[in-house]
Amino acid sequence: MNNLWQYRVRNVFSVTIICLSFLIVGIFLSLSNNLQYTAQQISKNMVIVFFLKKDLSEKDRNTIGEKLKKSSEVIKTQFISSEQALGKFLEKFPELQGIVNNLKINPFPPSFETTLKEKILSSDETQSFIQSMQNMKGIDDVQFNKDWVERMQSLSRLAKAVGFFLGGILILASFFIISNVIKLSVFARKDEIGILRLVGATNTFIRIPFLLDGIIMGILGGMLSLFVLFLVIKLFPLYLGSSLGALNELINFRYLSLSQSISLIGAGAVIGFLGSFSSLAQFLKV
């Protein structure tokens, strides 16, 4: 503690580097959180529409409805009659009101809108479920936004890639940086260590202050990075304005969860400890 203050310039420097490392990890963690969240949102809204034959009897329709409800793949099913479909269409394209009113018949078929449990549409169960439904009597067509499915899958992959690949590399990199910074500070005090050994200090006596320094620096760096991350997350959207619409979801950062924050600080402490410990070994000879 005493020494932390004595070498305050170097230590401010070290803590800054630790903080920057963790900040990078934190930003990507937060981005990963965000993408995970977006992917979830998208798959929650994934709807499969089963269009029915127009002349379907009520009984057949109910059979299909029951089958959908009972299927273990399905969370929610909603029947949309021809009239409801027309209403929805007019909501979307009000300028076509005139045309539609001129028509004598309703061109929209009735349908079931279904929300699936599985989030990944390409999974075998989902695929075979859709297949089996398509083959049922009375079902005319199945429609779902293929683009969005693929986009969602890519996003999910992106979240994992950023979270694990980049995050992993960056944590390794920051471990390297941190242990080197601490080695630097141990190195600067190698005379002191040498003299302590020569006047009869035990290894534990020599280690403890260095370990404490390392742990404190790691924790400080971790906490500082959380604080800076918080500022970045709060201030960044303010600066950009909020008119990005859907893109907003992608660019806005979500703050880390409590357990993630604690893990980050804990990782700081562990890295500080390991960094000090490993840096000391070579000086505790003779």
Binding site: V199, G200, A201, V286
Partner: protein, 221 residues
């Protein structure tokens, strides 16, 4: 009791810094090691407090073969020793007080006692008025005296002093030597490397003369 048996030391081929040194200092001896510059005096001392290892040979201190003591246990030997290094080895970012107190802190001595004992040690070398200075603000001779105070502060059983009066005026050198002699009289073994013939003549009890790594003469006055 310090016994060296057939010590050889080679830093770099082909020269031998020490060759076949056999030497014995009984408890309570007051020994001088002398010899020209580069003859191996410092090397010999470093081997005794095991900062470096001999290439060959055995060292027994108080019946322990210290070459067999592992690194992490060597502290118990060093705690019985007081060492004055030829290059002082003071910590420049710590005050004179802390430089000396460190020896007592390592032993786990109470804060109050530390204060008193450090002050006494500094008074012995005539430097108590510089207790709260940093070593960089001392003259070279004053730094040397801090190194001496640090070596004697824990009343060691063995004192190893490497050229402890090289930067001191003759009067002060004499005082320092008298201090060592006093500690010696209380039972400590003292080994001093020096070039100062005057001091050897006056205080010498056992005298070893090194020349190019060889022990040439042993005299007992």
């Amino acid at each position: 009791m310090i016994e060296l048996y057939h010590i050889w030391k080679q830093y770099q081929k082909p020269q031998w810094a020490l060759s076949d040194i056999t030497f014995r200092a009984e408890r309570g001896d007051f020994c001088f090691i002398t010899g020209p510059s580069g003859s191996g005096k410092t090397t010999l001392l470093k081997i005794i407090f095991r900062e470096i290892f001999p290439t060959q040979g055995q060292i027994v201190i108080n019946r322990r073969n210290i070459l067999r003591v592992p690194d992490h246990k060597i502290y118990s030997l060093r705690r019985t020793m007081g060492i004055v290094f030829q290059d002082f080895r003071l910590l420049f970012h710590k005050r004179v007080f802390d430089n000396i107190a460190i020896v007592l802190q390592v032993l786990g001595i109470a804060r109050k006692d530390i204060r008193r004992r450090v002050f006494n040690a500094l008074r012995m070398v005539n430097l108590h008025h510089k207790m709260w200075e940093y070593p960089a603000h001392l003259s070279y001779g004053e730094q040397q005296r801090v190194a001496i105070a640090r070596a004697v502060v824990n009343s060691p059983k063995i004192i190893l002093a490497d050229e402890p009066t090289g930067n001191l005026d003759p009067e002060l050198a004499f005082e320092i030597m008298s201090l060592f002699k006093e500690i010696n009289k209380k039972g400590a073994t003292v080994i001093i490397c020096t070039h100062d013939r005057e001091l050897i003549r006056h205080f010498g009890h056992k005298i070893f003369f090194l020349y190019k790594g060889k022990l040439l003469r042993k005299e007992t006055l």
